[in-house]
C-alpha cells in the first residue's frame, strides 16, 4: 500500500513598504551596513516601536486575496530569545493566543495541478519584524552585525497541511507569489529573499492520522523547494519501508548536493516566553478600513484570465500565460487597446518577446519597448508594410534601441516589396538559376515551390511579400492559383 504525502508551508514575505515595521527607516536593499538605522531598530534604551500603518494595510490586502477572516483587533507579542542579529533580544511578532488572534486566519488559495483544481487552506497571516544580518569575514575570529534589515516588515503565512505532493507545493508558491504581486504586497522573489519558505513534511497511509513530520529549511528558490521536498519524501518513504521511524527534526536543504540533512538538534525545546507587547496598542481594523482596502484591490489573476479569454477570444493556455504577472497582463491589454489584434499581440508576447525576456532574465516592465510600439509592429505586418519575417528583425532592434518600429523600418529600408514588376525580374532569375526544382514543380511536386519562394525571399533580403511571390511563381510555371 502506498503512502500519502502531507505538506504544510510556512512562508515569510517581505512587505513592499518604504519604511520599517516600527520606525521610519528606509527598507531599501543594498545600502552600506548600518546606515538605515535609528534608536528604534537598533533597540537603543528608551526607544519605542510604533506600528507602520502601511504594513498593516499590506497585511490586510494579503489576508483578503487569501480569503481570510480578518480580526477586528489583533495584538503584537514579544518572542524572547538571544541572538546578536536581534538588537532587543526579542522579536515583535503576532503570536496566536486564544485571547489574542493574529491579523487574519482561516483562508484559502486555489491552485491547479495537472488540470485538477485544489483548495489549500491558510491557517494564519500575521505581521512581524525582520532581524539584522550577521556578517562573518573570512579573516579573524569576529562577526559583524548589519542592522539595516532589523525591523523590516515581514508577513508570515502558514498553510494547513493540505498539500499532497512537491508539485502541489510548487504550484502553491507560484500562485501565492502571483497573487501577492498582483495585490502589490510583495515582490515575492525567493532568490532575493523577499519570499522565504519552510516546509513541514510527513507521510502516512491514506486514512491514518498524520505521521511524524520533519521541517525542511534553507531553500532559496521555488524550484529548490520542489527538489528538497521530493528528496525528503523519498527519504521518509525509504525510512518507513525499512520499518524505521521518521524522527521529528529540522533538516536543511543542501542545494549543491541535492539532499536534506538533520541540523544539530537542540537539547531542549526553546521557550520563547511570549507575552503581549506592552509598548504597542492592539491593531484595530474597522469595517470601514477593511472595505477601503478591499475596494483598492486589483482584479486578481484567475478573474483576469477568465475575462481575457472572454473579451479577446483567447484560449485558456495563452490567457493563463498572459496573466502570469500583472505587468504582463497590463502590457497585453494596453497593446490591444492601441491596436485591436489580440491574437497577434498575444503571439508576439508569448513568442519572441517572452524568449527575449527569458534570455536576458528581465521582467516585462524593464523592457524598452512600450505596448504601443508592439501594437504598431503588429499593425505594420497586418497592413503589409513589412513581412512577418522582417518584423522579427524589427522587434530585435526595437528591444535593443527602444526606437519605434516605423522609424526602424524607414531607416533600414525594410518596407516590403509589393511591386510586381520588380519582383517578376527576381522570379525570372530564380527560375533560370534553378532548373531542377522547376522541373520538379512542373512534374507535379508542388512542395518544391517552397524552395523557389525561399530563393526569391533570399534575393530580396526577406523584403518581398511572400504571398505575391507565391502567386507570381505559380503563374509563371502554369500552376493553378493556390486554394
Amino acid at each position: 500500500m502506498d503512502y500519502e504525502t502531507v505538506i504544510g508551508l510556512e512562508i515569510h514575505v517581505q512587505l513592499l513598504t518604504q519604511s520599517k515595521m516600527f520606525c521610519g527607516c528606509s527598507t531599501r536593499f543594498g545600502a552600506p551596513p548600518n546606515t538605515q538605522t535609528c534608536p528604534v531598530c537598533l533597540g537603543l534604551p528608551g526607544s519605542l516601536p510604533v506600528i507602520n500603518r502601511r504594513a498593516v494595510e499590506l497585511g490586510l490586502r494579503a489576508a483578503l486575496v487569501l480569503n481570510c477572516t480578518v480580526h477586528p483587533s489583533s495584538q503584537f507579542h514579544r518572542k524572547n530569545y538571544y541572538y546578536p542579529d536581534l538588537p532587543k533580544n526579542y522579536q515583535i511578532s503576532q503570536y496566536q493566543y486564544l485571547e489574542h488572534p493574529p491579523l487574519a486566519t482561516d483562508g484559502y488559495l486555489d491552485i491547479e495541478v495537472d488540470g485538477q483544481r485544489r483548495r489549500v487552506g491558510i491557517r494564519r497571516v500575521h505581521l512581524e519584524e525582520d532581524t539584522g544580518r550577521l556578517v562573518h569575514p573570512a579573516e579573524g575570529a569576529v562577526s559583524w552585525v548589519d542592522y539595516n534589515r532589523s525591523g523590516v516588515p515581514l508577513m508570515e503565512i502558514v498553510t494547513y497541511p493540505d498539500l499532497r505532493s512537491p508539485q502541489e507545493a510548487r504550484a502553491f508558491l507560484l500562485k501565492l507569489r502571483q497573487v501577492l504581486q498582483y495585490a502589490e504586497v510583495s515582490t515575492g522573489r525567493m532568490e532575493e529573499g523577499t519570499l522565504r519558505c519552510d516546509a513541514n513534511v510527513s507521510l502516512r497511509r491514506p486514512g491514518e492520522p498524520l505521521g511524524t513530520r520533519t521541517e525542511v529549511k534553507n531553500m532559496n528558490s521555488i524550484r529548490s523547494v520542489e527538489r528538497a521536498l521530493a528528496y525528503e519524501v523519498a527519504r521518509q518513504r525509504e525510512v518507513l519501508e525499512r520499518g524505521g521511524a521518521v524522527v521529528q527534526e529540522t533538516r536543511h536543504w543542501d542545494e549543491r548536493r541535492g539532499i536534506t540533512f538533520a541540523s544539530r538538534s537542540k537539547e531542549e525545546a526553546e521557550d520563547y516566553r511570549y507575552f503581549p507587547e506592552p509598548d504597542l496598542v492592539p491593531v484595530e481594523v474597522t469595517p470601514e478600513w477593511l472595505e477601503e482596502v478591499r475596494r483598492s484591490l486589483p482584479e486578481l489573476p484567475d478573474a483576469r484570465r477568465d475575462r481575457i479569454m472572454a473579451q479577446y477570444g483567447l484560449g485558456r493556455y495563452d490567457a493563463e500565460l498572459l496573466v502570469q504577472t500583472r505587468a504582463t497582463a497590463d502590457f497585453f491589454e494596453a497593446a490591444v487597446a492601441a491596436h485591436p489584434s489580440p491574437k497577434s499581440i498575444a503571439n508576439w508576447m508569448l513568442g519572441d518577446l517572452s524568449a527575449y525576456l527569458n534570455e536576458h532574465n528581465l521582467e516585462i516592465d524593464q523592457l524598452r519597448v512600450t505596448p504601443g510600439q508592439l501594437a504598431e509592429l503588429v499593425r505594420l505586418v497586418e497592413e503589409g508594410t513589412i513581412s512577418g519575417r522582417i518584423a522579427k528583425d524589427v522587434l530585435v532592434e526595437m528591444l535593443e534601441t527602444g526606437d519605434s518600429p516605423r522609424s526602424i523600418v524607414d531607416r533600414r529600408g525594410w518596407v516590403q516589396i509589393a511591386d510586381e514588376g520588380a519582383l517578376r525580374e527576381t522570379v525570372e532569375a530564380v527560375i533560370r538559376d534553378h532548373p531542377e526544382p522547376v522541373r520538379d514543380v512542373q512534374a507535379g511536386k508542388e512542395k518544391a515551390i517552397a524552395f523557389l519562394v525561399g530563393q526569391v525571399m533570399r534575393r530580396t533580403q526577406g523584403r518581398a511579400n511572400p504571398a505575391l511571390v507565391q502567386r507570381l511563381l505559380r503563374e509563371r510555371l502554369g500552376l493553378p492559383p493556390q486554394g
Partner: protein, 488 residues
C-alpha cells in the same frame, strides 16, 4: 545668591530679566550642588557647561525681548533613566556606564523647549528597581533631612536634589511609587501622571505597562507648571493618549468645597507607622475643614497588589533588560571569548543583585507551564484592582492615603530583606496597576523626617488631584519647610 535656592519657581520667575538673569539662577544652583552634593550624592552627572551655555542663550533671548517660555531658566535635574542627547545615561547601572544616547527623551525635549535648563542626571536604584536608591550601581544617595537615612527610591536622586536645593524641579519615573515615595521621604511634591499622559519615549523601560514620567518640585504650583510642559500625545509612543491637556495651573485655585474624598480603610491597617497614620488622618481633617466631603471606601484587593505588581513588573523587565548584552553598546565583559560568555559574563558583571533577582523572577513567570499561573493570573488580578478603584470613584473624586507606610528608614536597614524593601511601596503600587494619577504632598514630620499624603484621582484627572493637593498645601505650612542642610 544663596537666597535664590530652595524657593519655588513661581516666586523667582517675576524677577527674571529684571534684577535676575537665568545665568545667576543657574549658577546659584550649580554652586549649591558643589556645596552639598558631596554629602547628599544626588547626581551621577552634573552637566555644568551645557547648563551655563543654555542659560546664556536664554538670557540672550530675554535681552532681545522675546517672551519668556513657561519654564524659562528653571534649573532641572533629570533622573538618569531618561535619555539626554550627548549626556551619559546610565540608569544607575554599570552595564550602561558608558552609554551616551544620540537622542533626547520626549519629556526632556519638551522641558528644554519650555526653557528649562538641564543641570544634570540624578542617581536611582539600578534600572529604577528599588525603594531607597541604595541599589544604584554607583553609590547610595542620602536623605537631605537626615543623612543617615535613605531618600526613598527609585527616583531618590531627583527627590533629594529638589529637597537639598540642588535643583528647582526634577523629573522622575514611577513604576510602583518611584516618584511619590521618595517625594514623601524627602518632603517634596511628586506626581505620577495617568498612564499614557506623558510620553515614555526615551525613558529606559523597566516595566512598560506601569512606567510613567512625572515631576518632583517644591510645591504644587511648580508641579503643575512642569507637568503642563511634558504632557500630551507623542507620535513616538503608541501608548501616549491623544486627549486635550487642560490648563493645570489655572484650575489650581478652584478649592475643594464639595469635593468627595475617599479614605480606603485598607491603607490604614497593619504595617503603618502610627505617627504617619496620625499625620495623614489629620491632613484628611484639614481637607474636610476646607469643605471637602470625606467618606470611607473599600479597596479589598490591596493585599494582592504587591505580588501582582512584582509578577507583571518583573516579567516585563526580564524582556526589557534582555537588550543589555554587550553586543552594540554599553558594558562588554573583557573576559568574554565567545557568544555565550559575551552574554553571560557581560550580564553577570554588569547587573547588580536586585536587577538579577527581578530578571530571574520575571523569566520564571513567563516560562512555559508557569505563564498561566503567574503572568496571566497577575493580569487578571490587575483587572480586579482596576475595578476596585473604578468602584470607589463612582462615589468619591479623590482618594487620600499615606504615600509610604513609614516616614523613612536608615541606610542599610532594609537591604538584607527584599520583602521589607518591597513593602515600602505597598500604598503606591496599586495606583500604577490601575494606571491612575497620584501625587504625594508633604503633610508632617516624624523625628525630623517628612511625611507624605498621597492623593489619587480618576484617569486623566490630574487637574483634580492637583487642585485638592494645592488646597491642602495652601492651608498648611509643611511645604515651606527646608531641610537643615539647605538652611545651614
Amino acid at each position: 545668591m544663596r537666597e535664590l535656592v530652595g524657593r519655588p519657581y513661581h516666586e523667582i520667575r517675576p524677577r527674571l530679566g529684571k534684577d535676575l538673569s537665568v545665568r545667576e539662577l543657574v549658577d546659584a544652583y550649580l554652586e549649591n550642588i558643589a556645596r552639598l552634593d558631596g554629602q547628599v550624592r544626588a547626581y551621577l552627572t552634573v552637566s555644568a557647561d551645557q547648563a551655563r551655555a543654555q542659560a546664556r542663550e536664554l538670557d540672550d533671548r530675554l535681552a532681545r525681548g522675546e517672551p519668556l517660555p513657561p519654564l524659562a531658566g528653571v534649573p532641572v535635574a533629570v533622573k538618569d533613566n531618561l535619555c539626554t542627547r550627548g549626556v551619559r545615561t546610565t540608569c544607575g547601572s554599570r552595564i550602561l556606564e558608558p552609554f551616551v544616547p544620540p537622542y533626547d527623551a520626549t519629556a526632556v525635549q519638551r522641558l528644554r523647549e519650555a526653557g528649562a535648563v538641564l543641570l544634570g542626571k540624578t542617581n536611582l536604584d539600578e534600572f529604577a528597581m528599588g525603594s531607597s536608591t541604595e541599589n544604584s550601581g554607583f553609590f547610595a544617595t542620602r536623605n537631605p533631612w537626615r543623612l543617615d537615612h535613605v531618600p526613598g527610591g527609585s527616583s531618590g536622586g531627583s527627590a533629594a536634589a529638589v529637597a537639598a536645593g540642588e535643583a528647582l524641579a526634577a523629573l522622575g519615573s514611577d513604576t510602583g511609587g518611584s516618584i511619590r515615595q521618595p517625594a514623601s521621604l524627602c518632603g517634596v511634591v511628586g506626581l505620577k501622571p495617568t498612564y499614557g499622559r506623558v510620553s515614555r519615549y526615551g525613558l529606559v523601560a523597566f516595566a512598560s505597562s506601569l512606567d510613567q514620567i512625572g515631576p518632583l518640585s517644591l510645591d504644587v504650583r511648580d508641579c503643575a507648571l512642569v507637568l503642563q510642559a511634558i504632557c500630551g500625545r507623542d507620535p513616538h509612543d503608541s501608548t501616549s493618549v491623544d486627549l486635550p491637556v487642560p490648563d493645570f495651573v489655572a484650575s489650581l485655585e478652584a478649592g475643594v468645597r464639595g469635593v468627595r474624598v475617599g479614605v480606603p480603610a485598607e491603607f490604614f491597617g497593619e504595617g503603618l507607622q502610627p505617627e504617619v497614620r496620625q499625620a495623614v488622618l489629620e491632613a484628611v481633617r484639614v481637607l474636610e475643614g476646607l469643605g471637602a466631603r470625606v467618606e470611607e471606601v473599600a479597596l479589598p484587593t490591596l493585599e494582592y497588589a504587591l505580588p501582582t505588581y512584582y509578577l507583571i513588573a518583573c516579567a516585563e523587565a526580564s524582556s526589557n533588560l534582555a537588550r543589555y548584552d554587550g553586543v552594540a553598546y554599553g558594558y562588554r565583559s573583557p573576559r568574554a571569548h565567545d557568544l555565550y560568555t559575551l552574554y553571560a559574563r557581560t550580564r553577570a558583571e554588569g547587573f547588580g543583585p536586585e536587577v538579577k533577582r527581578r530578571i530571574m523572577l520575571g523569566t520564571f513567570a513567563l516560562s512555559e507551564g508557569y505563564y498561566e499561573g503567574f503572568y496571566k493570573k497577575a493580569q487578571q488580578v490587575r483587572t480586579l484592582v482596576r475595578r476596585d478603584f473604578d468602584r470607589c470613584f463612582q462615589t468619591v473624586d479623590v482618594l487620600a492615603t499615606p504615600t509610604s507606610p513609614v516616614a523613612g528608614f536608615r541606610l542599610g536597614e532594609r537591604t538584607a530583606d527584599p520583602l521589607q524593601m518591597y513593602l515600602a511601596d505597598v500604598y503606591t503600587i496599586p495606583v500604577n496597576l490601575a494606571g491612575l494619577p497620584g501625587i504625594s504632598v508633604p503633610c508632617g514630620f516624624v523625628e525630623g523626617l517628612p511625611v507624605g499624603l498621597q492623593l489619587v484621582g480618576r484617569p486623566f484627572e490630574e487637574a483634580t488631584v492637583l487642585r485638592v493637593a494645592y488646597a491642602y498645601e495652601q492651608a498648611t505650612e509643611w511645604h515651606r519647610h527646608r531641610c537643615p542642610l539647605l538652611r545651614a
